[in-house]
């Protein structure tokens, strides 16, 4: 932590403190409200138990399959050098900011009743695939998490010292020996954290369950909360389920943070490939095979949804453009709130570190714990809190922006806090010695070093918020929508063509927002 001699001014307490208070209100305050409303005295029904069971079993299956496929994929990428490797690595990062509903539409285009695969197997007289239910939920989760797991494991492979591969080559250790001495110990350390992280993501991925699950056999806890609120209007039941979801996320999140190493977004995964093993033909064939399968699995849905979207894009109904405006507003608001919270909290954390180290560290840890919070639980809590006073319909968009901001806060903080610490230690003292104070000091000495991470964080927050389909479903009236929501509504009424058009619009807008913010952060940097 920086040894800043900066005095803590009231403004730091007011701004940083209120940002922190807002975060606590959203994460813990909502849970207290839920506790208040929950049917704690009523036992869980058998159908509740089957919902909990489904949630856990599908997450276990999804995480296991993702990891099992990601390990050979990462190994192939780490030991092979070929044209297009860089492109694969770049696209592996895309699902993170790709709106989930868009990916699901793509998965339907490939795996749905009238998708490529069903068409293909129809030639052999085999009936169309039924994508809905357990299989579909797991398939979609595997689609989202293979890239994530692959990136985590690639980092593990990059962290093996190059000397160890050279040493192995020198000693004549063969491919099996490299697996035993280098790769297995690395995986031993990396797999538990990756597994838990993916498990957690699959437990709280509302969109997938909403679009592909449903019915008595394939309902997750979050989907059941949604149904209890929107269809049965049973606040007590929704609160009870939300408490269960919260408990599950806290346990899993805690374990994940304990076991997993931080994921770096920009760490060099593109280290030059230097390997002297695995030249035997069977390893080459296997690597080519796994990379081909995984690339087809990942790229085909994306390709099909974007291609199919081009023509409908020009005939979209007016409601879509209204929804687009809503989405942009929500995304911008969310980005501004997220970055403002991260900046004010960072400033307070750094200043507290000097005098009250424990308080500073506690604040930092609590902020990162938001990673484990379920936006859906927060949304349910806000619904329960605000309902007696105001119609949920009227606050749908602001609430969505706020919850999305809280969700991207851990990422923003992880980028902005270290940058501010560096800025303080590099430029802060010089500024102090020159007698700069308050805003002048911030604007001249600190801000230039923050522009880049702030731009990136804002872009990320905007893109994440743009694609989110969670809280909005709880609050939105039938005539208000964001782009993901309107897409979902089209998909439920089988307007797949129009949905593809919206998908293309959504992806273009969210990438543009990300690009503009990120570029904005780098602009001045490039001029100098």
């Amino acid at each position: 932590m920086a040894h800043s001699s900066q005095p803590i001014r009231p403004i730091h307490f007011i701004l940083g403190g209120s940002a922190f208070a807002l975060l606590l209100l959203l994460t813990l305050g909502t849970v207290i409200a839920l506790w208040w409303h929950a049917e704690t005295s009523v036992a869980l029904t058998p159908s509740d138990w089957s919902i909990i069971q489904f949630t856990i079993v599908q997450a276990l299956a999804s995480a296991s399959i993702s990891i099992i496929i990601a390990i050979p994929t990462a190994r192939a990428l780490s030991r092979r050098n070929f044209r297009g490797r860089q492109i694969i690595l770049t696209i592996m990062g895309a699902p993170f900011i790709l709106p989930s509903i868009v990916a699901i539409l793509g998965i339907l285009a490939v795996w749905g009743r009238s998708g490529y695969i069903s068409d293909l197997i129809a030639n052999f007289g085999v009936g169309p695939i039924n994508i809905y239910g357990f299989g579909g939920v797991v398939l979609a989760h595997v689609f989202f998490n293979i890239p994530l797991a692959t990136r985590i494991f690639l980092q593990g492979w990059s962290a093996i010292p190059i000397e160890h591969f050279r040493l192995s080559a020198q000693l004549g250790i063969n491919t099996a020996g490299i697996t035993r001495h280098l790769e297995r110990p690395m995986l031993h350390a990396a797999v538990p954290g990756a597994f838990l992280l993916i498990f957690l993501l699959c437990v709280s991925s509302f969109t997938v369950a909403l679009a592909l699950g449903g019915g008595p056999k394939a309902t997750t806890i979050e989907l059941a909360i949604y149904q209890a609120l929107r269809f049965d209007f049973n606040l007590a039941k929704a609160s009870q389920l939300a408490m269960i979801q919260f408990a599950l996320c806290v346990v899993l999140g805690g374990l994940t943070i304990l076991l997993s190493k931080p994921i770096h977004f920009s760490q060099g995964l593109d280290r030059k490939v230097e390997r002297w093993d695995a030249h035997e033909i069977q390893y080459r064939i296997f690597d080519v095979f796994i990379l081909t399968i995984v690339c087809l699995f990942l790229f085909l849905p994306l390709y099909s949804v974007l291609i199919r979207g081009i023509i409908p894009l020009f005939t979209l109904p007016a409601t879509v453009w209204v929804a687009a405006l809503n989405s942009i507003t929500v995304a911008l608001l969310s980005a501004i709130i997220s970055v403002a919270m991260a900046l004010t909290m960072s400033a307070l954390i750094i200043r507290l570190a000097h005098k009250y180290q424990t308080a500073s560290q506690a604040m930092e840890i609590v902020s990162f714990l938001t990673l484990a919070a379920s936006p859906f639980v927060i949304g349910t809590g806000l619904f329960v809190i605000t309902f007696p006073f105001i119609s949920p319909f009227t606050i749908a968009l602001p609430v969505t922006a706020l919850v999305n901001a809280a969700m991207s806060l851990p990422f923003s903080l992880r980028m902005i806090l270290p940058a501010m610490i560096r800025a303080e230690s590099h430029n802060g003292r010089l500024a102090d010695s020159l007698g700069m104070q308050t805003w002048t000091r911030f604007y001249i000495a600190i801000w230039p070093r923050l522009r880049q991470p702030v731009g990136f964080s804002a872009g990320l927050a905007a893109a994440l918020s743009m694609g989110d389909l969670g809280v909005i479903t709880l609050f939105a009236p039938p005539d208000v929508a964001t782009l993901p929501l309107i897409m979902y509504r089209m998909m439920s009424s089988y307007q797949l063509e129009a949905a593809a058009g919206v998908a293309l619009l959504l992806v273009s807008l969210s990438l543009s927002l990300f690009w503009i913010f990120d570029k904005g952060g780098r602009l001045e940097h490039n001029l100098r």
């Binding site: 160890h164 050279r166 000693l171 004549g172 063969n174 280098l182 230097e274």
Partner: protein, 232 residues
């Protein structure tokens, strides 16, 4: 074993390195020069980790330019990461006998003897992290001792050690090389290390590896490139 670098040229972006000379069997040679000059690159080329763009590498007049590293008769010591962290000291050394670690009772005895020779008697069951940096390099040297390769390459393996400890390690290297009659190539940027154990020095500067010259002569009467580096 003699090593011939026949009109070798390597380039990587702006960086280029040329070399054209022969190192005779059993010589102890220092590769001396500023960092970034290409010392480690030259060693990597000899060990087979880098393939030259032009030219040939020969061992005993046999062309091995494209021979994979595992087939080359070289033992190599890096500055760090010479040990696998999850294997005990004894197993790390035993890799020098059998990379699959299937060991006979005799093998284990040989490993123990090697550890004794580098002054780590009875430390075989320890894990690498329990040892100091100098001790870890001794373990790696014990492994080189067992591999009995005719060429030993050291890539600044003692750069992180203090002067007294470094001298001790250099003595050990000298003893090993003399007893196995191996050819020694040692990358260093310290002229005193070069003069302490090597007979000849290859000066590597400005993208060129010069032919080996007797170390004492070279240091007594340094050419311009070396004088600039030494600051004399």
């Amino acid at each position: 074993m003699s090593i011939t670098l026949d009109k070798i040229k390597l380039s990587h972006g702006e960086f280029t390195l040329t070399a054209d000379f022969k190192i005779k069997e059993g010589q102890k040679v220092a590769l001396l020069g500023p960092s970034g000059g290409g010392k480690s690159t030259l060693l990597s080329t000899i060990a087979g980790f880098k393939i030259p763009d032009i030219g040939r590498v020969l061992y005993n007049e046999i062309d091995i330019t494209n021979m994979p590293p595992a087939k080359r008769p070289i033992a190599l010591l890096f500055q760090e990461h010479n040990l696998f962290p999850h294997l005990s000291v004894e197993k790390n050394v035993a890799l020098g006998i059998n990379p699959t670690l299937r060991l006979s009772a005799l093998d284990i005895k040989v490993v123990k003897d090697a550890l004794y020779r580098v002054g780590l008697d009875g430390q075989g069951q320890k894990m690498p992290f329990e040892l100091s940096g100098g001790q870890q390099q001794r373990v790696a040297l014990a492994r080189c001792l067992l591999r009995k390769q005719p060429i030993l390459c050291l890539d600044e393996p003692f750069a992180a050690l203090g002067p007294a400890l470094k001298r001790e390690m250099l003595d050990l290297v000298k003893e090993i090389v003399d007893s196995t009659k191996a050819t020694l190539l040692m990358v260093t940027h310290q002229p005193e290390d070069a003069s302490y154990i090597t007979d000849q020095t290859v000066l590597i500067a400005d993208g060129q590896a010069h032919s080996p010259i007797e170390t004492t002569k070279l240091l007594a009467n340094p050419p311009i490139a070396l004088a600039q580096y030494l600051g004399t």
